[in-house]
């Protein structure tokens, strides 16, 4: 089946079987390998992308079901001129990633989190990222990065 959608602002399409997962579609049909797969059963959050702005698990979504919709992946978070988004910059500044495998999922989740709640409390941050597993960082610097990103967004707007 032909699936056409807007990914990171660009119209993309490919013909895929109905059972193709969105994660595989992005990674293997569109060569956007920044979205990662850590469990394939909806728990780790590595595969989180923004579907019409809302975070979804691309490993639990069939590509055919998002025909015509808009998807943002980690490759689309930076500004058009290549400057990293405040969330990306905050992650670097706060050492919020080690192996980086969970990072794209966190970046997408946090981007949506801060859009909906620009000044979350520590508890809200921890709850807000509690759909994403990280095996490397112990989360402390991720939490710090979310607060830092909130500050950056506030400063820059």
């Amino acid at each position: 089946m032909l699936v056409t959608l807007t990914v990171n602002g660009v119209r993309r399409g490919a013909s895929v079987p109905p059972r193709r997962l969105l994660s595989d579609f992005l990674r293997h049909d569109l060569a956007l390998t920044g979205t990662h797969v850590g469990c394939e059963h909806g728990v780790c959050g590595c595969c989180t992308v923004l579907l019409d702005g809302e975070p979804v698990r691309s490993c639990l979504t069939f590509a055919v079901t998002v025909d015509g919709r808009e998807v943002t992946t980690v490759e689309g978070l930076a500004r058009a001129d290549g400057e990293m988004s405040p969330v990306q910059r905050a992650f670097a500044e706060c050492h919020a990633l080690q192996c980086g495998f969970c990072t794209p999922g966190f970046l997408c989740a946090v981007t949506a989190l801060l859009r909906d709640d620009p000044a979350p409390s520590e508890r809200q941050v921890r709850e807000g990222i509690s759909g994403n597993l990280c095996r490397c960082t112990g989360y402390q610097n991720i939490v710090k990065a979310v607060h830092r990103a909130a500050d950056l967004i506030a400063e820059e707007s």
Binding site: P17, R19, R20, R27, H28, A31, L32, T33, G34, T35, H36, V37, G38, C39, E40, H41, V43, C44, C46, T73, V74, E75, L77, A78, M84, Q88, F91, A92, E93, H95, L97, Q98, C99, G100, F101, C102, T103, P104, L107, V125, R126, E127, I129, S130, G131, N132, L133, C134, R135, C136, T137, G138, Y139, Q140, N141, I142, V143
Partner: protein
């Protein structure tokens, strides 16, 4: 002036690519490669009567199906036993594909190659394997008591048995010391199985170049040199025709050190046979049932001590659950046996272990590698002694600590590297003082009283450890300065998120006097450096870091020699700053390192203007000497290897305050504090990150993670839905403080930091819960339901 780099929290160089989706992990490579999938045993123990692949043959897109029968003998052989040991009398390893018998759920039985993974899995589902189930043995004690044999030819399921005795200074053995001690205690302490669980599973991509007759393999591994040698041997290829590259690796924590995995042999072999690129990326269920686990150990302790809590004799017996195979030898129980001693001077010590086969996933090192179990043993013992004598738990520890003046301290045992267990440096009393201050140990009684007044239950716990890090045999570093002034550093060991590109660049930039952004670092690529060991045992900074520093020193010396000639100065008067070599005190006399690199390579041909400076008429040189002096080599580059005399010993102490819910038995960590000594810090930001991550894994192991095998050997929680890895909501804020006692053993004074965080956590939490509840905690992990049950039992006894 080149900014000070060593010791600075320099931002990571790997981050920009990893933050923008430009990382290159295994499954991001090889688009268009054929996909492999595996048929794996659904039985914990069975004989294979027959495999019928005919059903799979109709699948469109199927390329090949292989069973044991299809493999050439060399490929089909059992996988290597990586670390033989005289005590490992009955070491056994799996074959890449099972021959006749399967010994755990998940063991590979057939491999399918197809156009994509979906089709390969379709084909797997249509392969019929006729199994004759046999009785499995899952429980380690049953296995040791003569349960069903996991391997028909291994008597009593015992793979290895080892006794180590360290008598007292006066030559009295431990058991006798215990008999004659004023006080004795005996008890049992258990730790259950967990697993490293990196978020990226294992994976292999192989590309056979038919024209070149060479093989390139990408593997999500902790040792690319190890994989390379294993593959070359297995596939009968000349070593120079095989290259192995570890791309970005999404976490390892030990599991990716094992090599070669069945898939690391079979995928390259299939690529050769088929003349096509073949890739296998592990899925999560496979990772649960077909990689490695660790930690399961039953530990029996007898201790004799005096009125101050000094340990006069300690006798420990370990029953180590080794799973179905022993590819990594008996490193884990050896590490438990030796590192159990921690920062203490123990009167006399005896330790005995049996490594026992069960019909479960094999056991190989997981971050900490046997230390969490050993520390659980020792620290719970310290707590028991304190409780028995009614002494403060930190006072008992203080009474046993090795003192700063006693280094180097010889524990008179053989460590996991086959070398003496001699602690190089440390300051344990200071560490104890710091952790007590950080957590507020002495004022905890007030906190407890205030909490109790509100009907809350709180407790405090402490755990101390010593960690042998930076084991040999060696690592290498290669440093090349090119004529554009860039510095290319490579080392053979691999990276899985530890920030090696950053810390090695810090070391190189500092040693050479160049700006950090001119340095690039490559790890784990056998095309760049073929000699290496791998990333484990918190060894990268120590061993590779030292090798890189030594290589840089060679390069610097050569650069100064060439610059001295060009500037007609004495090399001793030269300084290198910001990539420029100057004569100290004479501002005009300077030469760029880039130019020195050009001059270091006398040329006949000019490929650009810079190169023209080194050609034969532009730089004629001394007519009485050859253009390259005897004993010299062209180019500004250096290679060095660092081979440590023995391990360097990092240490630390953790403390935690927990609260337990009187009704639900929920356990909440209110505060978690860490004092950590890994010698000189290269990058404190990265070290702290390692500690945070380690503690989080420790918390997982203490409160949430366990492998729920049933008596049939089925792993009932083989998914992230059921194996409870902590999220951000479960991990406390971690407070850290550093102590720096440099190691005298290596040129940088560093010790390893990678595993430290995880080691004492189970012991600390157990101590804190015990303190809150007044109930003895002798096995971990501890879930709310476990604690609830313990409360009920305690109530019944009262």
């Amino acid at each position: 002036m080149t900014a000070k780099l060593f010791g600075e929290p320099v931002g990571r160089r790997e981050d920009p690519r990893l933050l923008t989706g430009r990382g290159r992990y295994l499954d991001d490579l090889g688009s268009g490669a054929l996909a492999a999938a595996f048929v794996r045993s659904p039985h914990a123990h069975a004989r294979i009567r027959d495999i019928d692949v005919s059903g799979a043959l109709d699948i469109e897109g199927l390329v090949a199906v292989y069973t044991f029968e299809d493999l050439p003998p060399r490929v089909a052989e059992p996988l290597p036993l990586l670390i033989p040991h005289p005590a490992l009398a009955h070491g056994r390893t799996a074959r890449p594909l099972a021959k006749g018998v399967v010994r755990h759920v998940g063991e590979p039985v057939a491999m399918v190659v197809a156009h994509d993974r979906y089709l390969a899995e379709d084909a797997c589902a249509l392969i019929r394997v006729d199994y004759e189930p046999r009785e499995p043995v899952v429980d380690v004690e049953k296995a040791a008591e003569g349960g069903p044999a996991v391997h028909a030819d291994v008597p009593g399921n015992v793979a290895a048995h080892l006794v180590q005795e360290v008598p007292s200074a006066a030559g009295v053995p431990a058991r006798q010391m215990i008999e004659s001690a004023p006080y004795t205690l005996a008890f049992r302490l258990d730790i259950e199985r967990s697993a490293p669980m990196p978020l990226e599973g294992r994976g292999v991509l192989a590309r056979w170049d038919l024209d070149d007759r060479s093989l390139r393999v990408y593997s999500s591994t902790q040792t690319s040199t190890g994989v390379r040698m294993a593959i070359a041997a297995r596939l009968g290829l000349p070593l120079p025709s095989v290259e192995v590259i570890a791309p970005d690796v999404g976490g390892g924590f030990g599991v990716k050190l094992v090599h070669p995995w069945p898939e690391e042999v079979l995928v390259p072999w299939a690529a050769m046979v088929l003349g096509r690129e073949v890739k296998w990326a592990e899925d999560r269920r496979e990772h649960f049932v077909a990689s490695s686990h660790e930690r399961g150990q039953a530990q029996f302790v007898r201790v004799g001590f005096d009125g101050e809590g000094r340990v006069l004799g300690l006798d420990v017996t370990l029953l180590h659950d080794h799973g179905a195979y022993t590819p990594y030898g008996i490193i884990v129980p050896i590490v438990t046996s030796t590192q159990l001693l921690g920062p203490y001077r123990i009167g006399a010590y005896r330790v005995e272990f049996s490594s026992v086969y069960t019909n479960t996933v094999q056991v190989t090192p997981y971050r900490g590698a046997g230390r969490p179990q050993g520390v659980f043993c020792m620290e719970r013992t310290m707590d028991r002694i304190a409780a028995y004598l009614d002494l403060d738990r930190t006072a008992v520890r203080a009474a046993n600590l090795i003192q700063p003046g006693e280094f180097p301290y010889d524990q008179r045992m053989t460590f996991q590297d086959g070398r003496p267990l001699i602690y190089d440096s440390g300051d344990y009393p200071e560490s104890l003082r710091m952790i007590k201050e950080l957590i507020g140990w002495d004022s905890f009684a007030e906190f407890r009283a205030a909490a109790a007044a509100d009907g809350r239950r709180v407790g405090i716990g402490i755990g101390c450890y010593v960690e042998g890090t930076g084991v040999g045999p060696y690592e290498g570093g290669h440093v090349q300065v090119t004529s554009d002034g860039r510095v290319h550093v490579s080392t053979g060991l691999t990276s899985q998120g530890q920030g090696h590109e950053t810390v090695f660049a810090q070391i190189a930039a500092g040693e050479l006097g160049v700006p950090l952004d001119r340095v690039s670092v490559v790890t784990g690529d056998t095309r760049r450096l073929g000699y290496a060991t791998g990333t484990f045992a918190s060894r990268a900074a120590v061993v590779s870091g030292s090798a890189i520093a030594l290589a840089c020193r060679k390069v610097r010396e050569k650069a100064l020699r060439i610059a001295a000639e060009a500037l007609e100065a004495d090399p001793a008067d030269l300084v290198v700053e910001d990539g420029v070599i100057r004569v100290a005190g004479s501002p005009g006399a300077a030469i760029e390192l880039a130019t020195v690199a050009t001059l270091a390579n006398p040329l006949r041909y000019a490929f650009d203007a810079e190169a023209a400076r080194a050609t034969q008429f532009a730089a004629p040189g001394d007519p009485d000497r050859p253009p390259i002096a005897e004993g010299e080599e062209p180019g500004l580059e250096g290679r060095a290897y660092y081979s440590p005399l023995r391990s360097t010993f990092a240490s630390g102490m953790h403390a935690a305050i927990v609260e337990t819910d009187p009704d639900t038995a929920e356990i909440k960590i209110l505060r978690y504090a860490v004092v950590h000594d890994c010698g000189r810090l290269i990058n404190p930001m990265i070290v702290e990150g390692q500690i945070h991550g380690g503690v989080a894994q420790g918390v997982g192991g203490a409160l949430y993670e366990r492998m729920a095998y049933d008596s049939h050997g089925q792993l009932r929680n083989a998914s992230f839905m059921d194996f409870l890895m902590p999220y951000a909501t479960e991990i406390p804020h971690i407070e850290t403080a550093h102590l720096e006692t440099p190691s005298p053993l290596n040129p940088l004074g560093v010790k390893g930091a990678g595993e430290a965080g995880v080691i004492p956590v189970a012991a600390v939490i157990a101590g804190a819960v015990e303190d809150a509840e007044g109930i003895v905690i002798d096995r971990m992990p501890l879930s709310p339901s476990d604690l609830f049950r313990l409360r009920e039992e305690a109530a019944r006894r009262r």
